[in-house]
């Protein structure tokens, strides 16, 4: 009963995203533009840009992922679908996990795929592409999973977007430190194993526990 529900919701959300492609494209463009602003701000010195590239890409990914969180529940809340999901037979935690997975496929995975292009712009060494993509692959799902809690708490509030950033960004900090840190470790000639393992551990713990909090927050927001 659980897997058909997950399949249906993921398929439905992906289909909805496919029908409104501009939403997906906007978040991606935001990622590219923020990453392109830094060289204009800090100057075009190649060594400096090479040094800040992992941090810039990670911060841009973080902001882009946060901006798209509003979409996670808002549309379903507006047309009443969310209440029907709440009443449905599938446990709310499963519904939330499926929606988060779909959200990551639409907003997180494209970031992982486009990040090497930004790295190319910053003239990052070729050896760092792998660890950058891997850290984003492990880290961006954590952003979606944790962000879902904030999205559920601020559902339907006026000024919800700014509030969401205040709630969610502090919780994103460990992911940012580990993600950017893993690339910097490899750049310094060391092993990034520790950082990547910690990111993986965070992904597992967040995927196991955060949907409970998101479900509780959704129930509170919808009662």
């Amino acid at each position: 009963m659980i897997f058909p529900a997950v399949k249906t919701i993921v398929r439905r959300d992906l289909l909805l995203a496919l029908r409104r492609r501009s939403d997906v494209a906007t978040a991606l463009l935001f990622f590219v533009i923020v990453a392109s602003l830094f060289p204009l701000g800090v100057g075009a010195e190649p060594n400096l840009l090479r040094a800040i590239a992992p941090g810039v890409i990670w911060v841009a990914a973080l902001l882009s992922s946060m901006l798209s969180l509003g979409r996670l529940f808002a549309a379903d809340h507006a047309d009443g679908t969310l209440e029907q999901m709440l009443l449905g037979a599938a446990p709310l935690g499963v519904v939330v996990s499926a929606k988060t997975l779909a959200h990551w496929l639409v907003s997180g995975l494209p970031l992982v795929l486009i990040a090497p292009l930004i790295a190319l712009q910053y003239d990052v060494e070729a050896g760092l592409y792998g660890v950058l993509a891997l850290s984003l692959l492990l880290g961006t799902p954590v952003l979606s999973i944790i962000g879902a809690i904030g999205a559920a708490l601020t559902l339907g509030l006026r000024g919800g977007g700014v509030l969401l950033s205040l709630l969610v960004l502090p919780l994103y900090v460990p992911v940012l430190i580990l993600g950017a840190g893993s690339v910097e470790m490899v750049a310094a000639g060391l092993s990034a194993e520790g950082q990547l393992l910690l990111l993986g551990a965070m992904l597992i713990v967040a995927a196991a526990f955060a949907p409970w909090a998101t479900a509780a927050a959704l129930r509170i927001s919808l009662e």
Binding site: I149, L153, T154, L157, R158, G159, L163, L166, L167, L169, P170, L171, V173, I177, A210, A213, A216, A217, I220, S221, E223
Partner: protein, 236 residues
Amino acid sequence: MTTESIKWFWYASPQTFFPLAGRIARVCAVLAPIFTVAGLYVGFFVAPTDAQQGEAYRIIFIHVPAAWMSMLIYLVMAFWAAVGLAMNTRVSFMMIRALAPTGALFTFIALWTGAFWGRPTWGTYWVWGDTRLMTELILLFLYFGVMALQASIDDRRRADRAGAVLAIVGVVNIPIIYYSVKWWNTLHQGASVSFTKAPSMAVTMFTGMILMALAFWMYSIAVAMVRVRCEIMENP
């Protein structure tokens, strides 16, 4: 349910808790200045000058108790959040509202005094690479987040419950702060006082710190109780 267990909920009603909060607030408000004066006297006049850090170390009499309080108040807040969500008691949610500003205040004091201590000792106000500094800063943002979330929801019941969920989520940060100096070997030194071994400092220094910690406890309880009374009066 036996009558014994019902007594637990006697003070869960705002009406019965109101006078109790007043009594607790009065006692703590009297004790707080006494402990503060005693603690500051021991800290500034009795405790010896540190061999390595000179007089600058004396800021720990504020810094360490404030840092303890910042973590403890968050734990207490998360505890009331869990009780409130599980038992649906209104006073528990009022406790969250009453504790959050005081917790944020002590977090800020811990960061601020730490910066003042770091300037002469480490040679810098702030180090971005240090885990304890980062996690304490995140704690400050978590307090602000809980307060901002409660303030921006008009429906009081939803505001209380949403704030409680956020408080419980943020509690993962507390063990990370506490163990950060053990897990990561960065600039911030290890724990000043440990439960498992004898204090590694002069007895008078230790006494001063404990007295200040008691003073902060009394202040926090008094202020929280006064704030709870205001909350009860605003929403009887």
